[in-house]
Symmetry: C2
């Protein structure tokens, strides 16, 4: 890609043929269709994930409609697909090139990485051991090293997932260094006493894991700033750090104008401009968005704004229920969680990757479905890994196991296990829908975008698994 080394609005992949007409009907299609996946789709699926796992590490068998992904024997090493940019990094020139680009079908995983990932027991019955090992790895003061390698954590038993290659430690260190500098010096994100929590977020490792095809650290920073800003808004407006459901609608809307600007009269515009610097969440949104908009096409920025409006709607539904003490039905909770969702993060995978999924291809109903399912699976992963943390927080915090337990009169354990099943079904539906779309619309930008979303899903799981500073599993097994 000619522009993969520079940070600016990407153009479409040059080898991309004209977009086919998007004629797929936009009818309700709430569940995964059980249509067979074609052989080309199976080939695509097999390439979604790097071959770094064994059957025993993922106890949940794939659904009949889903071809084997993690179980595919490793492909022989081969050069990257010509439609993918090289994993070069013009800013961190001394960094080793990524040995492999997870999310492509032709990766050459180094043996040492495979060994590191596969080291130690996995599967049902081994979690407690693994958990104990991980908890022991947390530094005595409870705060992790700011950019050191994250501790390895246990997988939720029975969770359908794909292990990832270890994120490039040099990139992790550089992103960690830069994001802390941005947070402290550029947007004054937090008071000194929250530094440990910021480090414990391990956002550098998170974003490097989720965007293995980012051409440069500058591209990774686009995602990292937004992720930090989104968490700042959530923490300071909605949750732990001074947040409240009361009056949240006003605060979120004013913060949203940092992403989706106000157009008003000469008298009132300066007060709006000034407001964007008036608290940490807005400073973070404004700066992160300014950086993003400079690198994205207008359609990519519009897409991100839409996803953020969805996210804020989701926050407000959750807040309304918290305020009125309403425990939603399970389907209502899942609807809220499709909005209060990671979706804005995977959908910028193309901007972070230095290319563009054209707007008309992004808008296709089948692509929208893939994105929604991926977002839903990643978000239930969050519910599962943060279950213990939320139980220990003040007040009742809704998450899928809690809602299932209350609404379906199940024990905490059975409700948790059912939530794992819900996650697994969403993951299988995501993979089946992605494979079908890849077969129906085999345009290079679509294929790369789908791989990018899949890489985000896997990286997100890995971050939750390894972030033992924030998360621990319940004792259900």
């Amino acid at each position: 890609m000619p522009d993969s080394g520079s940070l600016g609005p990407p153009t479409s992949l040059p080898e991309q043929p004209p977009a086919p007409p998007a004629t797929t009907p936009d009818a309700p299609a709430a569940t995964a269709p059980d249509r067979p996946v074609t052989s080309s789709a199976a080939h695509f699926l097999a390439g979604l994930h790097p071959p770094v796992t064994t059957p025993s590490s993922s106890p949940s068998p794939p659904s009949p409609s889903t071809p084997p992904a993690a179980w595919t024997p490793p492909s022989p090493p081969s050069p990257p697909s010509p439609s993918l940019p090289p994993a070069s990094d013009v800013l961190v020139r001394n960094a080793p090139d990524l040995a492999a680009v997870p999310g492509t079908s032709d990766v050459s995983a180094s043996d040492s990485v495979v060994r590191r990932l596969l080291g130690g027991p996995t599967g049902l019955g081994t979690t407690a051991l693994s958990l104990a090992r991980k908890q022991a790895a947390v530094p005595p003061d409870g705060a992790p090293a700011p950019s050191g390698p994250s501790a390895e954590g246990p997988v939720v038993p029975g969770l359908y997932h794909h292990p990832i290659l270890e994120p490039d430690p040099v990139r992790v260190a550089e992103v960690s260094r830069r994001i802390k500098q941005w947070a402290e010096d550029e947007v004054q994100l937090y008071p000194q006493e929250w530094e440990g929590q910021f480090d414990g977020f391990s956002v550098g490792r998170y974003m490097v894991a989720c965007h293995p095809d980012a051409p440069t650290v500058d591209h990774l920073m686009l995602a990292t700033r937004l992720m930090v800003a989104e968490n700042a808004v959530d923490d300071c407006y909605c949750e732990d750090h001074g947040g409240s459901p009361v009056g949240l609608g006003g605060r979120l809307l004013l913060a949203h104008t940092a992403l989706d600007h106000l157009h008003t009269t000469a008298e009132y515009a300066p007060q709006w401009q000034e407001s964007l610097g008036s608290d940490a969440p807005r400073r973070a949104y404004r700066s992160a968005m300014d950086h993003f908009v400079r690198a994205a096409t207008p359609s990519q920025a519009d897409r991100f704004r839409h996803d953020m409006a969805r996210l804020h709607l989701g926050y407000l539904a959750e807040a309304a229920w918290a305020e009125t003490g309403h425990v939603p039905e399970v389907w209502e909770y899942l609807a809220m969680r499709q909005f209060n969702n990671f979706r804005p993060c995977p959908t910028i995978t193309d901007t972070v990757g230095g290319y563009e999924l054209p707007a008309d291809l992004h808008a296709r109903p089948d692509m929208q479905r893939v994105i929604a399912l991926a977002g839903n699976a990643t978000t239930i992963v969050n519910d599962l890994y943060s279950y213990t943390k939320e139980l220990n927080s003040p007040g009742r915090h809704l998450n899928l196991p809690v809602v299932i337990a209350e609404r379906e009169h199940l024990s905490d354990r059975d409700a948790y296990l059912k939530a794992v099943e819900v996650h697994n079904e969403l993951m299988h539906a995501f993979e089946a829908a992605a494979a079908q779309l890849a077969a129906d619309c085999p345009v290079p930008a679509v294929l790369r975008f789908l791989r990018g979303v899949a890489a985000w899903v896997d990286g997100n799981h890995d971050w939750h698994r390894t972030n033992t500073y924030r998360y621990s599993l319940p004792d259900f097994w």
Copy 2:
């Protein structure tokens, strides 16, 4: 246009050249730039509005940066621009063709229409007379005839606006008939006792006035159903008919899934599907959206979903302030009102017109600015015309004059007059931005879309002016 008579996803205008790269920076640009409008832009502006007014009917002089629009002498009759579809209507074949297509530069207004619009005194000092005349025209029982011609109402003195050609009465009658049938038979929108209010909404006249270039009544129905559905959600969830700010976030999100579908597991999807029929707002959203999605491209549907997410965020900010008794600063109110806004209505002008503004052109920052300014101007029009209605409603209802009076310590009258000035500045900024965009990107679909938005702005004003069933002006002059 080959497909102007059929209702299905539109294609781009055939004569449209490839979209130029959208390189305009997306930097904050909160106020109208004072750059001079080019001569081609002035030509475009002059063609935005049909020549059916005189200076005395619009007392506010145009700003120096805005070339004369309403004051342009009538052009001689000429055939419609080749890039515009004929105003034919395959479904209402006996309806007279629209004598003119407001929003095009070459309209031949019939003398009778001009005389009807210009009949009676206008301008400062004549409003009370006009108001009295109009109030006398309301039927004795307070309910208007369902599809008869709306009474002529007074213009807010000093309001910068453009009169429109009288909406085609045959289309108005047909849309009025069909929308009432849809509301009563298809979505069971209201109980019998609300029929008068539904008729008084005069939504048929509204939508015919706002979409003069709709090729068929079927196209007009796309906009009309959505407008009714949006009002049903607002009335039943937020405002007069059982609405409340308490718990609104949950209700709105679940309604939003009628527009932006849930993708979930086989167990929970049926309950979500069933929920869409469980109350009038959701039945209306679901049906109106189903019709819209069948006629729109995926990108147009995505654009509409985004605008509806914005609208719902705006409702929730307003509700948060109502719940906490917070009176926002004027700029904060204007920010909320950029979201709680008519925007979803003008931005479907291309779908209703049977063509598509391509997604990348819609996403351009300068187009986004035009749309935001148009939406803001139309929304302040609503604040001005509904001022008396809202003063007489239970509780305190925020609108621009009320917020200005409280925050800037002005009398009710002075605050109202200042709100008129705010509106006028937004209107001038909209027209200047539209003219500049037309000059910078003279693509047929862009020009037609801009004319469509301008027509919507004018039609919206006319509906507020003439809807004396709902609105009356305060006695400030």
